[in-house]
Point group: C2
Chain length 357, copies 2
């Protein structure tokens, strides 16, 4: 590849099929992520607008809706389930605790609405599969919100790997940590409650980034997992994985070794090493992504335009909804991730390799 081609070949949105049309979105779950990240990202998107806000309290929903120019309705969860204002939106964005994704997705599917759902797909693979089935039966698209799949730098890294720039991938190391208790001091937050979060607090919520991003970069599926995990801090009493270290074997033979913690210095990194080179993504997952490509002892660092990852995700989802084009991170993709996450927890508890059949 010539240097000119290397520099020019950065397609910000090589997935895009339409440039007009609007998908009207009902945002479900009005926590800080929805209010501070998702709604502004929708506002900045080409193909989406927020028309409905849904929350536990009708008052809160109406208050949030009132602050969004395009929004016409604020609904309680009960009102949503009852099908109120169903004519006002075409799709839902579900950003609730994991174990509540299924009921909202079911209602949305029954109402004929497309579903964009935050990762992980649900609190268990079984419940995730029920979401897939509900959307399949209703004939509505289901997209899991893996925003790394539409991060241009990650897509570029994936293409370079596919083009053989690093030779055959051999192994990868990744890490993702944050100080969750400093981000939210609420000791009752749902991520610490297995009834709402699923099997744990860290692999499900942030370990999923190195795990799924590696899967996406390799274009391979996981086949086995091993793990260490522990919780020491009181706040993590009900979950096994305040801190964790885990490994994944992929079906192309590549290994990922990773660490993650919800109670440590924030840090993000993913490195894929091949027979002839390596790609380092650092910072990696959270609204800032840089990649460095090395062959032998020569490296280049790609300085690409930093996009709003949530805007990319929403426009990607809208593009899929408007065109019926194949979805990369679809429900089956999300269910397999959840099966892998369950394997990681089972491995951490049993001290044995857990294979995905």
């Amino acid at each position: 590849m010539s240097l000119e081609a290397f520099l020019d070949d950065f397609e910000r949105r090589n997935w895009q099929r339409v440039s007009d049309g609007t998908v009207r979105i009902a945002v479900i779950g009005l926590g800080w992520w929805t209010v501070d990240q998702a709604i502004p990202a929708i506002d900045a998107s080409e193909l989406c607008e927020t028309t409905v806000a849904v929350s536990s309290s009708s008052e809160k929903a109406k208050r949030v809706a009132a602050g969004v120019e395009t929004a016409t309705h604020g609904l309680s969860y009960d009102e949503f389930h009852a099908g109120e204002a169903a004519d006002a939106y075409d799709a839902v964005y579900i950003c609730s605790p994991n174990a509540l994704h299924l009921p909202y997705a079911r209602t949305a599917a029954e109402l004929g609405k497309a579903v964009l759902c935050e990762k992980p797909i649900e609190a268990s693979s079984e419940r995730g599969q029920k979401m897939v089935d509900a959307c399949d039966e209703a004939g509505v698209p289901l997209i899991v919100g893996y925003r790394m799949h539409t991060e241009p730098a990650i897509r570029r890294a994936r293409k370079l790997i596919r083009d053989g720039v690093i030779g055959d991938p051999v192994h990868a190391i990744g890490t993702n940590s944050q100080a969750m208790l400093e981000l939210s001091s609420d000791p009752n937050q749902w991520r610490l409650d297995p009834e709402l979060a699923g099997p744990g607090a860290t692999v499900t919520d942030i370990g999923i980034y190195p795990l799924n991003t590696c899967r996406f970069l390799l274009d391979s599926d996981p086949v086995a997992a091993q793990a260490f995990m522990q919780s020491a801090h009181d706040a993590f009493e009900q979950v096994p994985d305040e801190h964790t270290s885990f490994m994944v074997e992929f079906d192309d033979g590549t290994y990922l070794a990773a660490t993650a913690s919800q109670n440590a210095q924030a840090t993000t990194s993913l490195r894929v090493v091949g027979t002839n080179g390596e790609i380092l993504v650092e910072p990696a997952y959270h609204m800032e992504t840089e990649i460095r490509v090395t062959r032998d002892d020569v490296s280049v660092t790609l300085d690409t335009p930093q996009v709003n990852q949530m805007t990319e995700l929403f426009d990607y989802a809208a593009d899929r909804i408007l065109t019926d084009a194949p979805i990369g991170p679809d429900g089956e993709h999300g269910v397999l991730d959840m099966r892998l996450i369950e394997a990681v927890y089972e491995a951490g508890e049993s001290g044995r390799v857990v294979t995905l059949d």
Copy 2:
């Protein structure tokens, strides 16, 4: 710590106790590492000189000795074991295939010579323990050649961790890979022969770097291991670990997740993440070491003088031999590493956590 103190507090050799005296060294095993790295490093050292060269062939030994100004003797292995020219050296540097460390160390100990031995200590922990016993019985020092222990940047990183700069260590990720077949195209090289190398080719030879460097940085001992490993290339037919991914749990609760390969792009890195910061060592292990220290979102990269790591190792060993000061990487340290390495291989074979009792 003030910035001035931070910058000034870089003690290149805070272990040094004597600045004069000479330890005369018999170098055993005249492969490229000894000839191209060790002998020039001894030549550049303050406290050592090469006086004897020992090899399978007396001719080769004499030829190498003739090229070293300070050397007076070239011996065959048989001549060495027979005690020839024993008055001409005070210590041995053993750089043979792993499974031959023990006989040379035994002879050296019987002759009252100090032993500096390349890592890993031997091809098994049992044989390593026999080296420890032989040196103990003879009352001679045994030093395992972990050159990261005397690498100034690594020592500085260790001090920063001990001083609490990153808070409590939580997890670490590391990697070490190289294209061994390109470094030496000999298909019969000893690293691929379990009779000479020990349980494998990669964990023993290069996985030991992230493993032991993490152990040194944390000042903690390993308690358990898990691993994936595989060999696909014909050259690796007799060893299980052309590529490997492994994890170690340390007795302070910290996890290390690591990857290593003898048949991939050369890459080295080690990152220790704590509750309040992280230390990244990259490049990490091979004659070039840089550290980056981060707390919250502020980082500093330490640009420290790059030493000849082998010269540091030889002067450290000589300093210990001349002063009888306690040895960091002593025989027991090397045996515990070998027990950990054996646990990694056992884990890779069994698919289970292997604990060190």
